[in-house]
Structures are given as structure tokens and as C-alpha cells.
Amino acid sequence: MNISLVTRRQKRIITVFLYAFALVWLFPFYTAIRNSLKVNGFKNYVDLFMGDLNGISLLGTFRNSAFIALGSTVILLAVGSLAAFAFSKLRFFAKEALYATVLLCLAVPGVVILIPFYYILKNVGLYNTLWSVILSEAVLTLPFAVLMMRNYYDNLPPELMESASIDGATKLQMFNRIYLPLSTPALINLGVLSIMWSFQDFLLPLMFLTDKSVLTATVAVNTLKGLFGFSPADYGKFNAALVVLGMPGVIIFLFARKYITSGITSGAVKD
């Protein structure tokens, strides 16, 4: 909005007020950074990456997190876009009822589905492998993916289908050659969101990954809290780990904010 809604004096008051608010806001950041430099200063950070922390390598946990994020995102994009295309552009039996069922699953709370997932994963031998979290995250995020991708496909013209079918293209070819390439922006939005959510995930890896070798970064910090003694040196290192854990969030923000914003809002606010 580029109209002058406010007088200069009002603007000044608002500015002062907002910066005061921001100062309070920064307090948790200040807490984490200050504590992370305790006792050994910056060396806490170096130690984190150089050695093991009670048998846990922080870099290793980030590798696990990245693998899970990529794996679940690939499944999400492939399965989600296929289904969304069908829900948007194809006609088949009980389509809308099926779509409503999928959307309903948006509500499934992670903790509720934990026990069945545990039972299933244990039985197929995936418990304590990265695939257990990849699959469960993909399943729980799929309803959102279908919702978002369908909204996008709904806004693409159906006439492209007609002309393609005159040229004798199959439905799969239409999807592959026409609609999928056209939906690249939406796929990027969804992919970025999925990677971010995967990095934020705590409950699923906490429950399904108990071996030290498969820990994810988010859970590792919780494990470290239990493993570290209460010596001030450990405390500094632990806080340094917290700061490092916040870094992917900052990086994602700096490079991909607009994808996340348009992804979330196109999935939720349909206008």
C-alpha cells in the first residue's frame, strides 16, 4: 500500500514502538548466542564440527536430515503431482469423494498415528532406518501437496488437453509434456516447503530413529541435552549446537522465502 495513511509523527511513533518490540524479540537469539560462547568462546563451534559428541557427529546428523528431506520431498512431488493432476483434469469414479477424503487427512495429528506407523515400519523392517521417516513424512504431508497442486492445476487451461488429444497424445503424455512443465513454479514452492518442514520435524525421527548413526539434527540436540553433563563447558557446546541448528532456517529464509510464502498461501487462502 503506497498511500500516505499516516502523518509523519504517527510514523515516528510506530517506528519507535516496533523497534522496541524487535528488541524484546531478539532476546531468545541473544540468550542462545551468549550461552554458546561461554567458557571456550568460539572454540565451542569448532569442537562441534571437529569431533564426535559422545559418539554423535553433528555433521552426520545434518547429512541424515538432508537425506530424509530430499527423499520425502521427491516422493511428495512425484506422488502428489500425479494425483493432483488427476483430481483436477481427469474424470473418474468417486473423484470428489476421494479428494475430500484426502483433504480430511490434513488433520491427522502426528502423535496419534505414531503407534500404527511404528507397528507397520517394524514389520516391514524399516524401523531405525532413514526410510521410516522419509515415508511417514511424505504420507503426512501428501494431503497438503495434493491440495496445493490441485489448486494450481485448476488454474491451468483445460484447452491444452483438447488440442493435445487431437494430436493423439495419451493422458500420461499430456501430464508429462504439458502440465508438469507448466507447474514448475508450484513444484518449487512445494519442494522448498517440504524440505523446510522436514528439517523442522521432531516427533517422527524421535520415535523411529533411536540409533546414534541415524539421528537427525533436530533430535540430536535433544539427545545431546541428555548426554552432556552439567559442566559449564558442555553447556557452552550444547548452546552452540542450538545456534547451528537454527542456521538452516536462516539460510532457507534468505534464499527461499518467497517460495515458502506463495506455497503456504496458495495452499490455504484460495482467492
Partner: protein, 297 residues
């Protein structure tokens, strides 16, 4: 128009991967929860003993469970009030274009991009009674009497859990920003010409115009409260004495306690699932009527 069998088949071919994943994990999962909820068994899934509705009776009679649902509602109500007031105000004010609004915007967004587990952990360190930075700061500036047992006094623990919502206004702000781009600035200009002040403009014109964003925030926050786990698990563990426990932490505490009755966990899960699905139905209906009213397909 009649649809050919072939076309049905093609449609189903496209949704097959989705249906397979859902059938294995979700639909079988729901069946598993309901079936197990009638048995008494442990996490080893052996020696199941049929107990009928006994598990449900125990869950419903457990005041901790009812309390955890109330907490869910209280925490989401607080998050909604904060999102709709602070979130809305900050997004509107930032859009006026004050100095450094880009930087401030980034600052307010960043926590929403970080793992909630991390934020909860930092808050728990910050609010610690003896060494926490908040109490140390209060001592440092001579306001000792304000120092509190933030996490071990029930009322304060409530306040601490809620305070994280202020830190998470990034998501509501996103919805408001998106909704604000659809507002016709002519309306605001007309209001300025008619002599509306800033406060009036906010309250009587902007706030009602943003009702789509309000609705999205209210419903998604309510739904989110039944998913939320990290904030309470890492900040208070549901304590002191269960005061801040929500449904997720309640259920999880039984999953992890030794020799727990998984049937009981499943009965509680079934009830929570039912509540969550009901909210989801309301959400779908709310947005369906809107689409029809707007005349958009």
C-alpha cells in the same frame, strides 16, 4: 455425459501411488488404532487381551485427558488472539513503509522457519530460574521482584508456553501479507479523504477486509493445536504436575512409559483423531461456501 471405462482406469492409474501409500499407512493405521483400542497389550504387540470398551472408559474418566484437551483449546485460543492482533498489527504497520521495515520483517519471520524444537529448547534455557538469561537480566537492571519461576509455577508455565506464540507470528503475517495484496487501495484512499484516522482505518476498514486471513489463521491454528508436540514436550514436559499438558504430550507419555497399555493409547488416539477430523470437516465446509459465494470454480 458418460465416461468410458478406459477413462476411469486412467484416472485411477494416476492416483494409485497416493492410494497405495494412504492405504498402507493411514487407512490401515486408523483400522489399527480402532482395533487395538479394544485390547489390552504392550508395545511388543503380544498377549493381547480383549477388554471391550474398558480402555475408552479409562480415557474418558481420566481428568488428565480432559484437561489436556482443554489446554489444547486454551493454547490455540491464545495463539489465535496473538496472531490476529499482534500478527495483523505488525503486518499492517510494516506495510506502511517505515525505515528498516525489510529488516524488521525478516526478523519477525525467521523464527517460523526454524524447528519449533529448537525454539522451545532456547526458551527453556532462557526461562530457567537460576541461570536463565531472563531472570539474570531482571536482576541486572534491579527489577528482582519481577524474576519468576517461569516454568515451575503453574500459572507462569502457562504464560511461558503461550509466550512462544508471540514468537511465531510469522505464519499469520504471511497470510495477512497475502490477503493485503488483494485489497483495493481505492477503498483506503476514499477513507483518508473522508477523514478517517489511522486507528479508525485499522479497526473499521482494514481489519474487516482481512477476514479471509482471519478465518484461515483461526482454523489452521485450531487444527495445529492437536498436532503440536515439541513446544510443550521440550519446554515444560507438560508440567508442573500436568498443568500445561496437551493431548500430544499426554498420549506420548503413555507411549514411552514402560509396560504401557497400548490399547489405552489407541483409545485416546481414536478420540483425538475424531476431534481433529471434525475440525477438518468444519474447515472444508467453511472454505467451500466461500468459494461458491465468490462465484469462483
Amino acid at each position: 455425459m458418460k465416461i468410458k471405462a478406459r477413462e476411469h482406469a486412467t484416472g485411477y492409474l494416476f492416483v494409485t501411488p497416493l492410494l497405495v501409500l494412504f492405504a498402507i499407512f493411514l487407512f490401515y493405521g486408523f483400522y489399527f488404532i480402532i482395533q487395538t483400542s479394544f485390547f489390552k497389550e504392550t508395545l511388543s504387540f503380544r498377549d493381547a487381551e480383549f477388554v471391550g470398551w474398558e480402555n475408552y472408559r479409562m480415557v474418558i474418566e481420566d481428568s488428565r485427558f480432559l484437561y489436556s484437551i482443554v489446554n489444547n483449546l486454551v493454547f490455540s485460543a491464545a495463539a489465535i488472539v496473538i496472531g490476529v492482533s499482534v500478527g495483523c498489527l505488525v503486518s499492517v504497520v510494516l506495510s506502511i513503509g517505515i525505515r528498516g521495515s525489510k529488516f524488521l520483517g525478516a526478523l519477525f519471520f525467521i523464527p517460523s522457519f526454524m524447528p519449533l524444537a529448537l525454539i522451545a529448547m532456547v526458551f527453556s534455557i532462557m526461562l530457567e530460574y537460576r541461570f536463565g538469561t531472563l531472570n539474570q537480566l531482571l536482576h541486572g537492571i534491579g527489577l528482582d521482584f519481577l524474576a519468576q519461576r517461569w516454568l515451575s509455577n503453574p500459572e507462569m508455565a502457562y504464560l511461558s508456553v503461550i509466550s512462544i506464540s508471540v514468537f511465531l507470528i510469522g505464519l499469520p503475517m504471511m497470510y495477512y501479507n497475502a490477503d493485503m495484496t488483494t485489497i483495493n487501495s481505492g477503498i483506503l484512499e476514499a477513507a483518508v479523504i473522508d477523514g478517517a484516522g489511522l486507528g479508525r482505518m485499522m479497526w473499521n476498514i482494514l481489519f474487516p477486509l482481512l477476514k479471509n486471513a482471519h478465518k484461515t489463521i483461526i482454523l489452521s491454528t485450531l487444527l495445529g493445536s492437536f498436532r503440536e508436540f515439541e513446544r510443550i514436550f521440550l519446554l515444560t514436559q507438560g508440567g508442573p504436575a500436568g498443568a500445561t499438558e496437551n493431548t500430544s504430550v499426554y498420549i506420548y507419555s503413555f507411549v514411552r512409559s514402560a509396560g504401557a497399555n497400548i490399547g489405552f493409547v489407541c483409545a485416546a488416539s481414536a478420540i483425538v483423531l475424531l476431534i481433529a477430523l471434525s475440525i477438518s470437516v468444519v474447515q472444508m465446509l467453511a472454505f467451500r461456501t466461500k468459494a461458491r459465494k465468490g462465484g469462483r470454480g
